[in-house]
């Protein structure tokens, strides 16, 4: 068994590895991302010149891929809140190594998501009208308010627990990294010395932010759904949308976190810290959310389909039988049912299996966002032929650049910021060590006490042994 100091030193060395070592693969990947982002930027420049005319959206289906991407990314941004805040609130003892990644995902996904709203605007240069003439009665304003609040809160929530680690970087990497990064660490570490008072204050701040950020996150995903829920459209005009969007956000946030954890683990050899245990626990969470999503879907489509109000026939037909049936069944089968199966079957409940489930979930959730937007708009309101829409090259390019930019931000971040909460992991490790020692003592005593309390019998079921032994 390692001594605590050795363990910590190894952790620091592993954590700072990306800032010290950069391979050609990194530059290749960075170049690839810049290429995709650049193409999107070029296409957006074209859109800026000619207007939304360059997209395939038209009057009857007036929202499309951009809005879907907006919902998807705001959904992904739930990752930090769920993992970090909820697990912190629940004091789960396995979260420390993944909270930082989750918090970065939140901040970046939110920035990209908000960007898609601007991309979707007909007059982006008038964005400040929202502040000059804003009406609080409008769901769009609720979004503006909720997203800016959430972004602020999540940046604080990302930054506060990072201060001790930034201080660690400042001390350990002095002279080893360039002037820019040294400056960043020096400035952001805020003179952190690691005194008990500082830790106490930091702990308080984190606790407060933990409690604040969960309701904010729930509100964000609710108001995103209310952009649609506040209209009179068949398929959107339902109170379940808030719940569906919040659950879907947690769902895709978890999935994104699993994917990015797996990538980082493999790239930087962090197997010791991001273990199968984290994947399994996140997998369990993913599966329970999938079950909840199935329940929401049944609840919604049963209550709407049973009554079959005006317009419902068209809405159901396009979703279950016609144009969107492929997407819908992919979402239900591969996005909800298969991930549950993967997690529940012990044979597939491996890191690889859970990552596959996460990829399926993210794909399905993106598809769900897309068909929710498009099918809602497609139901004819008046006697006209239903419109058709499929995103064109410009829209796909800009959407892809959103994903690329998200990856780019993370890729650059890995090289600068500590991706592990070293101090929290150390605390967790210490606690675990203490626990192990206590357990060993117990086991030792149990071994002395005799076979009655041996390994296979848990303390609870072992209790009535007096009666059942004979």
């Amino acid at each position: 068994m390692d001594t605590v100091t050795n363990w910590r030193e190894r952790l620091i060395s592993k954590t700072t590895r990306p800032t010290r070592v950069t391979t050609y693969k990194y530059w290749l990947w960075l170049g690839f991302l810049i290429l995709i982002t650049g193409n999107g930027a070029f296409q957006y420049w074209k859109q800026w010149q000619d207007g939304l005319y360059v997209t395939d959206m038209r009057d009857r289906i007036s929202w499309g891929l951009y809005i879907s991407m907006f919902i998807f990314f705001t959904g992904v941004s739930m990752a930090g809140t769920v993992i970090s805040a909820m697990l912190r609130a629940a004091n789960a003892q396995w979260r420390a190594s993944i909270t930082r990644v989750a918090e970065f995902i939140t901040a970046f996904a939110l920035m990209i998501g908000a960007g898609f709203i601007i991309v979707d605007m007909g007059r982006p240069e008038r964005i400040f009208n929202v502040y000059i003439h804003g009406r609080w009665q409008s769901p769009i304003m609720w979004d503006v308010m909720a997203i800016t609040t959430y972004l602020t809160a999540s940046l604080i929530y990302l930054y506060a627990p990072m201060i001790p680690d930034l201080a660690l970087y400042r001390d350990r990497l002095a002279g080893k990294v360039g002037a820019v990064r040294s400056f960043i660490y020096r400035t952001l570490a805020l003179d952190w010395k690691g005194s008990p008072t500082q830790f106490k204050l930091l702990g308080k701040a984190i606790t407060i932010m933990t409690l604040i950020i969960i309701p904010i996150a729930v509100s964000v995903h609710s108001v995103v759904s209310w952009i649609f829920g506040m209209t009179l459209r068949v398929g959107w005009n339902t109170a379940i949308f808030g719940i569906l969007f919040v659950a879907g956000a947690v769902f895709s946030g978890l999935a994104t976190l699993i994917i990015i954890m797996a990538v980082l683990r493999k790239t930087y050899h962090w197997e010791e810290y991001i273990t199968e245990r984290q994947f399994k626990y996140l997998g369990y969470m993913l599966a329970s959310l999938a079950l909840f999503m199935i329940y929401i879907n049944v609840s919604e489509y049963l209550t709407a389909g049973f009554k079959f109000e005006e317009g419902s026939e068209f809405a159901f037909r396009q979703l279950f039988l016609e144009e969107f049936s492929g997407m819908f069944s992919f979402y239900i089968i591969f996005g909800l049912v298969v991930p549950v199966a993967i997690v529940l079957i012990p044979k597939t409940r491996t890191i690889g299996g859970i990552v596959v489930a996460a990829v399926l979930v993210n794909l399905a959730m993106f598809i769900e966002r897309y068909f929710l937007v498009v099918t809602g708009l497609r139901v004819p309101l008046m006697p006209y032929e239903p419109a058709s829409y499929s995103p064109n090259f410009v829209e796909w390019s800009i959407a892809a650049s959103g994903v690329a930019m998200f990856c780019l931000l993370l890729t650059v971040t890995v090289k600068i910021f500590p991706m592990f909460a070293v101090w929290e992991m150390t605390e967790e490790h210490d606690a675990a060590m203490a626990l192990t020692q206590a357990e060993e003592t117990l086991m030792h005593e149990a071994a002395i006490a005799g076979p009655r309390l041996s390994t296979e019998v848990s303390p609870d079921s072992g209790r009535p042994a007096e009666g059942g032994a004979s």
């Binding site: 939304l52 360059v54 979707d120 007059r123 003439h133 769901p139 649609f228 209209t231 708009l377």
Partner: protein, 337 residues
Amino acid sequence: MPGPASTTSGADVTKRRHQAKPRARGQAETPVSIRPVSRREALKYITMGAIGAVPLMAPGGVMDGLVADVVRGPDATDQISVTAPATTKSGRIRQWSMIIDLAKCDGCQSQGTPPQCTTACIEGHFAPQPMEWIEVYEADFGGGGTQFIPTPCQQCENPPCVKVCPVGATFSTPEGVVLIDQERCIGCRICMAACPYDRRFFNWGDPPIPPEAALADYQVEQQVPATRGTVMKCDFCPEMVRDGTLPFCVQACPNDAIWYGDLEEDIATNGRTIVKASRLISENNGYRLKEHLGTQPRVHYLPGHGEDVGRDPGVEGRMPTDWPWIERAEGAVSWTR
């Protein structure tokens, strides 16, 4: 949503104007039964107490005395300039309304032209292709056979589009008309998602604008010239009615199927006859589109299949809409709906 404050401000303006220009003609308060009245007389009723409308290219200075700021949006500093509302002789604000007689509408099939309401609207407003602010839908709305339904903006009293606008670019006027300020619109298109009648149109690209429209001084009530990235729709032509003429669609209808009127004074005219609006609606079993949604449209429909025109309700089809000035609009793009 129009708050009480805005209504008050409209009424104040009205009062002031009314004292300055007393144009009362005694008879208006008498309940009017359905009887033929000359067109000239009808227009007098409609414009009674109203000020002259602003010419399309009126310079701002001339309008200063005529324009009142109507308070819109979240606070009193947030104003969009629209012309003061028309009032009855007793100072009540007129409530514009439309009654469309489907028994008289045949989608201009019998005369072999595109629907004349749509055409006139496009010519008068330079509505960019492919926008049909008043669109003639063909539907089977019950009773068998085809029905032609001219559909302008329904001018809801409980407008879903106004509720969702984040910047107050679309708003209800004291006259009950829903307008859009294209100089404020940010192009988020949530109003298009919210409108249950598919009556809102977006300028996806640089809209086609003929030279005569390009010179116009932009007014919220006229929406000329159109600008890219903003939403447009039927504006109910309140400025034309204040000026003593009827909206383009009403003027153009060869079958006199479209009635325009004032619910406050309870009169309506199709340009040939003047009637009591409420009676016209109730005696002909008038209804409104999607009444169950609670949007309270200001456009009423009288059921029918164009039978007054002598049309066979089993026959469908009509001429496609034309944008006659589109050739004069240089360098513009157009799109399909």
